[in-house]
Symmetry: C2
Subunit: 456 residues, 2 copies
């Protein structure tokens, strides 16, 4: 059989088994696995291990120092090994009142399927399993060795992933890696992501008294935790978005000419993004094109992800809060280092008289980039062009973060993205969803990557 | 009978009926009445009206434009009329996990009784009813006319009280008023409060997008509601506690020599307050005495009562919040005006580029002070000296707020405080409570005020 005949048979097999894949997806989405809240983690890891075993892989649930890692291995007509990196954990479903259907129940409306994690990342787990299954059925066996690394802490910064990868570098040895996400952009073009920003996620907290006080009693004479927090936060970034921590920008490497050329080739999605979030404009007055892309992905950030203090219910309560806290997410660009940023943050707060502001590191990792000339990158791009009918748009780095750097630095792997995502998926937000067409295309693309990789 | 014999009989009647009073208190505390959340308000107003009727008063539940007012009237051997001002609403019970017993179930531990509102202000309602009942039983009838004004919005700024009082000034006409609170200080000395700060309570809110975004997508290019709020709040007050709104201090009248003399005569409670809240010190470096009192009661404030934005659960969530809000309580001193402060706040935010920060007025009122030489004040002090065995400490103004000014400005009444409170009552905080001994003393004091007022 020619490759084209094989691909045709694989695509047909995929089409005929969509209902089965969706049933598997429903089964996985119904199991909560909120890493931030420790909700359903062990049960979901066990379920993923079971699913790998049901697909013929030797699977094990391994300790990581945090939430367990599901490892799987199987196949092997050639000596080559492809590693699938995925995660079974999901973002918290809150705010619950904005969901139109229960977050842990896969609900179909038209060609969209709604559930927390359906896109990020359980849909990808099922899409990889579907692709591997389709290829295996058509060929009679898998054309190469396949390994699975499915972690449970991606949504809380993959804190234990670097050490886990370092400790199991031989077990995880492979020739290439397919990342946990991928999909299409606003124009329906496939995207190929070659880098990710790093992250340093912290919680700042202040306690000024043993308990809350009546604001009439304490207002003029008691320290107020919420004010301490507000003043401390205000020293971190000015209203022109300049981060004020001394040395914060020291290690930033500006984008290369090659990076800027890739950014210039990206479609301008500014109108769609503004429409989707009902934005009046972007920060700094950028309007679109390479300038917007550069700011979106090659600038480090300091984002307040959450604030909490005192009374937050309806109406008024005259209370002086004894405790206040903020969750803050620094996105890092090459070659910033989260440990270095953490130390500089602490020193900055101390220097401004905020020794009372406690800093708790909640996770993070270094930024990383992949060589666009790697053969595995080229192979993935060619496969995308076949499935989607157009060449992929190539992002030298994206705004998001993930544990890419240990795959690059320790396992020395080329890493590509491919998947089921689309811009309306509401990842990390209420009504997370996936689109049936994109799900099918993501499965087909993954199957082609596997085939081309094995023969290459 | 001499007055002393009468007082002795009244005190004996009170002692013999303590269990009945506590049963009434349990009945009232079991009815939630959280004004900020609109929880149980109508039912509690009806219950209070019923209780007044059960004590022989003509009662009615009257519309106020907000939560209803319970009015009662009865008695009348003399032409003189004493008005009791009270409130049936309570603060929200949150945070619930810090309560050691259910907040809406009166629970006895030793000589302490725990429930939301048991001190502020349901214990005072029951104490007034108990005093009136004891006097009426011993004398055979009430020695003067008694009116009751029991509102349901005190904990949310008594928004409708000034207009209600103005509209019903003839119905509410009286010769003197007993305020809704009172009690003893850290030394067990009775306190007499002759003034209250005003208040301007606002909610600041910002919306920067139609929905939350992934912080990896939006961090560098989307406006962040939490950052807008933090920057806006930071312009309101500096870390030296100086309020930065132009004109904020314009109408402040400094304390008079008489005020300062009263403050100098107050006991130094700095050590007890620091111990109770585990404070390392007071703002501005004041340590105690008249300087601390002056700062606590004659300085206006800007207190953050609550902050809310984005993800506030355990662990991390990489979200960029589209909405953020803060609850802020300005305590005002003579002669500041809440409407004037509100206008200045709006102008200040606009001038700093925070036109996107919405300001919602949640309630407030003007400050007010009573003449310490009024005969009703002297009578109350003398009655306190008899009951408590020592003269009261006289506070020319306190840090808290309440709708005192329409009683002074419209009804032209002298107003005194007397009651069951003590510094460990945890008003507005978890585990609100009252002490049995202070409850009994508050009833006795109220009874003596009624007797002396009627004969005076």
């Amino acid at each position: 059989m020619t490759n084209n005949e094989l691909f045709s048979q694989i695509d047909q097999h995929i089409d005929e088994h969509m209902d089965a894949y969706l049933a598997q997806l429903a089964r996985l989405c119904e199991q909560p696995s909120v890493s931030a809240q420790g909700w359903g983690i062990e049960a979901c890891a066990d379920l993923v291990g079971t699913m790998l075993a049901e697909h013929g892989f030797a699977s094990e649930v391994m300790p990581s120092g945090g939430h367990p890692v599901v490892y799987g291995e199987g196949g092997g007509r050639s000596q080559k090994t492809l590693l699938f990196y995925l995660h079974y954990d999901v973002q918290p479903p809150e705010p619950l009142d904005l969901w139109e259907s229960p977050p842990f129940e896969l609900t179909r409306r038209g060609d969209k399927f709604y559930a927390r994690g359906v896109s990020d990342d359980k849909g990808h787990i099922i899409a990889r399993l579907a692709a591997v299954s389709a290829v295996g059925h058509v060929l009679g066996e898998l054309p190469c060795r396949v390994k699975w690394l499915i972690e449970g802490e991606e949504e809380i910064g993959s804190v234990h992933m670097p050490a886990f990868i370092a400790a199991h570098r031989h077990k995880l040895a492979a020739d290439a890696c397919v990342w946990e996400f991928g999909g299409v952009d606003f124009q329906g073009a496939p995207t190929l992501t070659l880098g990710m920003r790093g992250m340093c996620y912290v919680e700042l907290s202040v306690q000024t008294a043993s308990k809350d006080a009546h604001s009439g009693l304490g207002g003029s004479i008691f320290p107020n935790a919420a004010w301490r927090l507000a003043w401390a936060i205000n020293t971190l970034k000015d209203s022109q978005e300049r981060i004020l921590i001394p040395g914060f920008y020291d290690d930033v490497v500006p984008p290369s000419a090659r990076d800027m050329a890739l950014l210039a080739a990206l479609p301008d999605e500014s109108a769609q993004i503004k429409q989707m979030f009902q934005l009046s404009g972007f920060l700094g007055g950028v309007t679109g094109g390479a300038a917007l892309w550069r700011q979106a992905v090659f600038e480090p950030t300091c984002t307040i992800c959450g604030l909490t203090a005192g009374y937050q219910g309806p109406g008024s309560k005259t209370v002086l809060p004894a405790q206040a806290s903020a969750k803050i997410d620094f996105r890092l660009v090459p070659n910033q280092d989260p440990e270095d940023i953490l130390a500089k943050l602490r020193a900055h707060l101390d220097a401004h008289g905020f020794g009372d502001v406690h800093v708790r590191y909640l996770g993070g990792g270094r930024p990383a980039k992949i060589d666009p000339d790697d053969p595995f990158v080229q192979l993935t791009a060619a496969a995308a062009a076949e499935v989607y009918g157009q060449p992929p748009v190539i992002e030298p780095i994206i705004g998001g973060s993930g544990p890419l750097y240990p795959f690059v630095d320790i396992l020395k792997l080329p890493v590509v993205s491919a998947g089921i995502g689309y811009p309306g998926s509401n990842a990390h937000a209420p009504n997370e969803n996936m689109d049936l067409h994109n799900f099918r295309q993501g499965i087909r693309h993954t199957a082609r990557i596997l085939m081309r990789f094995a023969e290459g």
